[in-house]
Amino acid sequence: MRPWPLLLVLLVALPLVAGVATLPPHDAPDAPIHTQVGARYLERGVAETGMKNLVTAVLLNYRGFDTFIEVVVIFTALAAVLALPKGSAPVPKGSAPVPKGSAPVPKGSAPVPKGGPQAPEPAAGSAARAARAREEERPEVASDVPVSPVVRFVVRLLAPFIAMFAVAMLFRGHITPGGGFQAAAVFAAVFIALGLALGQARAARLVPVDWRPWLQGVAPLAFALVAWIGWRLTGAFLGYPSDDHTAQEAMGFVLEVAIAVGGGVILARVFLEMET
């Protein structure tokens, strides 16, 4: 163990301990965290938002703007992954995971040649076509790990049910724990499982190439739309009409679905990008 990281950690730990040690006790009902803003949410949240799950109420209504920015953050992650240079040839290696003791590329060796297995960079205007072409050319089993038929069968069998579970979670998010994000993660998990079990090309067809540019941005767009509707209806950005529970539910529902679809597509695409 090198000494200086420990020293640094200690240096950070001391003020942190000092900081948390002097906080008010965390489970006392009269702590500021329970008596200030939180108290009002507990008191009037259901009446004001029409959502029984107050976490959802906070996420979509009181602090809906945070959630807007949050879906923007995952969209940023996707844009980041898409914007990174691609096509650099991977270092020659055996089947993953790499066996013990595999040496790195020796120092001073020439940098890995560009291009690699991918098609040459397409000309302007044909990028979409090229992307679709690549999708179709993708081999059936992209993963290096051989997948047993049993696993494939189980995944195929379970996938619809898991997806149904996600949908249920999505629709009942305002009453029970769970909601758009959780559904998105589960959707993505289903997708990834399918991708690993059946090969990416099959999985990739679940999200059509033509729809991707729209689907991946659907969450921020839905937020902007709802914000605009709220603005027109109530005069406040992202405002919910306080007396109309149907409108509240409809707006919340749109957002939840958009988060689930958009988030799911984004996570799935990140997976696809990293696999290629």
Binding site: V98, A185, I192
Partner: protein, 81 residues
């Protein structure tokens, strides 16, 4: 009872975190990390945060772990001493 659960869980958390730090096999580290996340899920569930717990289970233990696994598959599994 509640206190005991807490203490066990916190100890487990710290133990798993340290194991993640010490594991030389990255695959093992990631799997243990997902265990750490699931333990955290239990703690949060216990502390009255089922929403957070579900998210952590789906995102922290699920998606993050899968992304790590893919990365390990594409890079290397061993941490150099």
């Amino acid at each position: 009872m509640s206190d005991l659960f807490d203490i066990v869980m916190l100890a487990l958390l710290i133990a798993t975190a340290i194991t993640v730090a010490r594991a030389r096999d990255l695959l093992a580290a990631v799997v243990i990390f997902s265990m750490y996340s699931l333990t955290m899920t239990l703690v949060w569930q216990h502390r009255g945060a089922p929403d957070v717990a579900m998210t952590e289970a789906a995102v922290g233990a699920g998606v993050t772990t899968v992304l790590f696994l893919i990365t390990i598959a594409r890079t290397t599994r061993r941490e150099k001493p």
